[in-house]
Amino acid sequence: MANEEARWVAQASEGDAAAFRRLVDSHASALFRVCARITNDKALAEDAVQEAFFNAYRHLRDFDGRAAFSTWLHRIAVNAALEQVRKRSGRGETELPEGEEADDLLATSVEAIPGPDRRAQSAEIRRDIETELARMSTIERTAFVLRHHEGQSLEEISAVLSLSVNASKQAIFRAVRKLRGALEPVG
């Protein structure tokens, strides 16, 4: 499969549309999954995947095979997803909240935690978890998605998000705290 994919990449970089389509078909679902988790929006995820493939095709000759093609493509897709979120919010939302700003965010999520009566059913807990994921900042959600769902290391996450390893850790900690907040009654 890896050899076959390397051949497709080589052919596609020479302008072979059929070869590039094979690459699209092989990776589209995985890219959609990570983009949907980051954007929390299927339409934005579709746009991000399209932009990712468009950018990848334009830079295919630059891909030198040092990393796996999927890793390279994945990184482009994460950036495309973040760009879609930026466009949606209409401002640079990917700055990491720190200090008091981060505390405020946590306070907000704690205040919004529903009471114990709402937790009787697992469907409601799931909704709470989804709510908390949606309420996370883009950086928190992206760092969490990359670490938890995509299995990326803190080093990889910090490289993709242009953050220090420590800032990536803090983003993940805040994300997990928010998830736990959806499960535990306050006080």
């Binding site: 302008g15 549309a17 590039f20 389509r21 699209v24 078909d25 589209a28 679902s29 959609f32 999954r33 988790r37 299927k42 579709e46 399209q50 493939f53 468009f54 950018n55 990848a56 095709y57 334009r58 830079h59 630059d62 891909f63 030198d64 040092r66 990393a67 890793t71 390279w72 990184r75 482009i76 950036n79 760009e83 807990i125 799931r126 978890i129 989804e130 994921l133 969490f144 938890h148 290391s153 803190l154 080093e155 990889e156 910090s158 490289a159 242009s162 953050l163 220090s164 390893v165 800032a167 850790k169 993940i172 900690f173 997990v176 705290r177 998830l179 736990r180 959806a182 499960l183 535990e184």
Partner: protein
């Protein structure tokens, strides 16, 4: 006193960001403390619920729809690229570069090679994913630092060209712009290889500007500033140069 925080337990869960000694300490503490086990179970429960959420799956028509939208964009791009002779022109300019400029470019190649070579050196034998990602991140750090410095020089060239009418100054500026062309191309290539296509695109957008500054019209060798002033006024290029440079600087500071 138990010094293991919930944050440590999160890292322990992922076996990431902790050294072996700390992992053993946490294992021992979990074995010894029911309270800690309870806290850890609570974290694992929350993470398990995140796993239980439905995996986003595209609809059945997604791949076909994606290709329908992608294909015309890709082929429009390819045809446009074939029509233009820009690349040929750039090749000619490349040949035109003089030895001092090439020496500067070689220095840039060497600098990049040191950064990326560190990473590449780890590729000669099978390496753990963590070591590879650390090398990858180190290569990105090196690239960011060099590109930020390159953008600082580019900003200076743009400002001098647009603000100065001194023939001597403009001639020196022209040489500096020429020396930046090849470095700009190398950095664009390195950024694209690192998957940072936005930075690569931005640097490629800078290239024709640097080339025109390096090779002003022979008929008006000392008065390129009006056109450039107009260009800088009507585009946000200078702002983008500063913003990108600041972003790269911030990234570097955060990593150190």
């Amino acid at each position: 006193m138990n010094t293991i925080r919930d944050d440590d337990l999160i890292l322990y869960h992922y076996r990431d960001g902790l050294d072996d000694k700390r992992i053993v300490e946490i294992e021992d503490a979990l074995f010894a403390s029911a309270d800690l086990r309870e806290r850890y179970a609570s974290i694992e429960h929350a993470l398990a619920l995140a796993d239980a959420l439905p995996t986003p799956v595209p609809d059945a028509d997604f791949n076909a729809r994606l290709w329908r939208q992608l294909e015309p964009r890709l082929f429009a791009k390819t045809n446009a690229a074939k029509r233009t002779s820009l690349r040929d022109s750039l090749q000619a300019l490349h040949a035109w570069l003089s030895p001092p400029r090439l020496a500067f470019a070689a220095a840039c190649v060497l600098a990049l090679a040191l950064g990326i070579g560190f990473y590449a050196g780890r590729q000669s034998a099978p390496v753990p994913a963590i070591a590879q990602s650390a090398a990858d991140a180190a290569a990105v750090r090196v690239l960011d630092a060099y590109v930020a410095e390159h953008l600082r020089a580019t900003e200076g060239v743009l400002l001098t060209a647009s603000n100065s009418d001194s023939a001597d100054l403009l001639d020196g500026n022209r040489q500096l712009a020429a020396s930046l062309v090849e470095a700009n191309r190398l950095y664009a290539l390195a950024a694209a290889r690192a998957g940072n296509t936005a930075l690569a695109d931005f640097l490629r957008q800078l290239e024709p500007v640097l080339i025109s500054l390096a090779n002003p019209s022979q008929s008006a060798p000392v008065q390129p500033s009006e056109g450039l002033r107009d260009y800088l006024r009507t585009t946000d290029l200078l702002f983008q140069v500063r913003a990108t440079q600041a972003r790269l600087d911030r990234g570097g500071e955060r990593r150190t």
